[in-house]
Amino acid sequence: MSVALVSDAAGAADRAARTASPLSVRGLTVSYGETPALFSVDVTVRAGAMTAIVGPNGAGKSTMLKAALGVIKPLAGSVAVFGQPLAKMRDAIAYVPQRASVDWNFPTRVIDVVLMGLYRDLGLLGRVRAKHRARAMACLDRVGMTDFATRQIGQLSGGQQQRVFLARALAQEADIYLLDEPFAGVDAATEKAIIAVLKDLRDAGRTVLAVHHDLTTVPAYFDDVILLNREVVAAGPVDEVFTEALLQTTYGGRLETARIQAETVAG
């Protein structure tokens, strides 16, 4: 039985030739049964920028991330990472899933979760050596969680769990960071810590793409924004795209509700 678990790592030559956009999506249509979650989405993410995906509930924001990761099979369309097919470039992408999507009762410690981010280096049977541990601890340090390294993950607060997820993504040392609602249900201190880390990543030339629900913080946190409601309503720099008129088009009658919801969640 041969189960090839990881696709080929991209060669050094590929890395050098990364002039194309870190992530471009073309004609992407995804449907669950007969309900389209995304319809004919075209998006090109700018390198070295922080981009928010914004839109009402059910607009297909998480679906778009999952399709970009190849986790969901699209009905039509394609995804390119630095101009290459996704399958060749997986190691360029780090992913932070929604916190609610996993079983926090799972028998594992914080440090073990972060070590999952080193899977590519460790492989199936590679020993976890001191350097791996040091790298994992350094990632925990960046999110301020070193004191919790040996804690059971179920004992953490929501914000702490989110930081651990981010530390795991940092351990992947990727070029593109995809985050699904990283600020959902976290405390204000965590939100600040996470945004600081993400801005550091951007300043180091990495690309960040996050699903985001709080409209009030979009201009402060992000450089670019994608307004999504099953189709891309508009995409581009925040000061051009994040306008009242376009938001109205994106949310329709639900704009006010979205603002109130965002405030209650954030507050």
Partner: protein
């Protein structure tokens, strides 16, 4: 022969068994629907396996008290008691510990069944136990049934069915909307208890007919089958009852025609045949219908995306899109739009523009909710409304 069986002509006992299986099938189908709708179908598996130690203990106790040990009411009473204990264990494990309900079910069914086997081997060593025939409870045995037993089966199946019918309304409410049932004064806890009580009764009554390993099929298969034919809860309940009754009746009748056709497995296989038919052929959720619908849908998406690409002058990348447009005579082999293609592309573009307006406008909130990227605007808005929308298009979209 089969005709005789179906018309209750194969003697008093066989007729009672057939009638009992029919009534039991209806009761199990209806009761199982509530379990299924609450996503707890396999709890019944734990309940049924947990009857075995009760059967063994009841036999031992009855013999110890100087009785016969084989008295069916006594054995069924024991079965009910230990099934209840098993159910309590499942509830306790899944609520008070970190185990999920599935693990609790698996643990209870295997341990109770294992302990039941231990008790059966004890029974076999007892002098009175040599002819006990308790193994009949594993797979059911209606062949050598006594007249009293057949009567007990038919009557209790009828009573269970009456009970299910009596509690049908609150159970349906609870399955459909737990919050609402609370408002109407039925506490969900009590309804759950009633539901599990009925499942337990169905199991115990069905032990002698289908056996404890297969009784879950009566509770699970008919509701799952019924679900293929309808989206409405009350219709599922009735359909499941009919399907269950049909399986019980046909199965018992077929099995009465020959000695090597044990009732339990035949009933289950008839039920499964009805399921297989529904899985394939049901109009809405059936496999054939789904496959056809998905293909049609995927083609619509590709054609629409292709047309929008044509309208905005982009090349068509995907082979399927290309092929579909080509076959519809909308593009030439080199990807350039034909006259018909240009018209269709312009129409698609206009649709999109109108939709964008509709979706941005709160007054069209209901219509906007129907947006799926495929529906033509004419299907959603009246001609007057479309005129209204068009009047707001600042500059009409000219598409080449």
């Amino acid at each position: 022969m089969l005709g005789d069986a179906l018309l209750f002509q194969l003697g008093y006992n066989a007729s009672l068994v057939t009638l009992g299986a029919l009534l039991l099938g209806v009761a199990a189908g209806v009761a199982g629907t509530f379990l299924f709708l609450r996503k707890r179908a396999l709890v019944s598996d734990a309940i049924s396996h947990a009857t075995l130690p009760g059967v063994g203990l009841a036999f031992i106790v009855m013999v110890a008290l100087g009785g016969d040990g084989r008295s069916l009411p006594g054995l069924l009473f024991g079965a009910a008691l230990s099934a209840g204990a098993g159910l309590l264990c499942v509830q306790w494990l899944s609520r008070r510990t970190r185990l999920g309900e599935d693990a609790a079910i698996g643990a209870v069914l295997s341990v109770f069944f294992g302990f039941g086997i231990v008790l059966l081997t004890i029974v076999q060593t007892m002098n009175a136990g040599r002819q006990a025939g308790l193994e009949g409870f594993l797979l059911g045995s209606t062949a050598g049934m006594l007249r009293d037993e057949a009567l007990l089966l038919a009557v209790s199946a009828g009573l269970v069915l009456a009970l299910v019918m009596l509690l049908r309304r609150p159970l349906t409410l609870a399955a459909f909307d737990p919050g609402f049932s609370e408002v109407t004064g039925w506490r969900p806890g009590w309804i759950d208890l009633a539901m599990m009580g009925i499942v337990l009764l169905v199991t115990v009554v069905g032990l002698k007919v289908v056996g404890l390993i297969l009784i879950v099929a009566l509770l699970i298969v008919p509701p799952v089958t019924a679900r293929f034919w309808t989206e409405r809860v009350d219709v599922v309940v009735i359909t499941a009852g009919v399907l269950g009754g049909l399986a019980g009746y046909l199965g018992a009748a077929i099995s009465a025609t020959a000695p090597a056709l044990p009732t339990g497995p035949i009933v289950v296989l008839v039920s499964f045949a009805l399921f297989g038919l529904s899985l394939l052929c049901a109009p809405g959720r059936g496999v054939l219908a789904s496959v056809l619908r998905h293909q049609r849908y995927q083609r619509r998406v590709h054609v629409r995306q292709g047309l929008l690409a044509l309208a905005s002058g982009q090349p068509i990348y995907e082979r399927l899109t290309h092929r579909l447009l080509r076959r519809a005579g909308l593009i030439r082999a080199d990807g350039v739009a034909t006259t018909a293609g240009q018209a269709a592309a312009a129409k698609a573009q206009l649709d999109e523009t109108r939709w964008a307006l509709v979706r941005a406008d709160q007054t069209f909130a209901t219509a906007a909710a129907r947006y799926d990227g495929l529906t033509a605007i004419e299907d959603v808005l009246t001609p007057d409304q479309i005129t209204d929308v068009d009047s707001r298009l600042s500059r009409p979209q000219a598409v080449s």
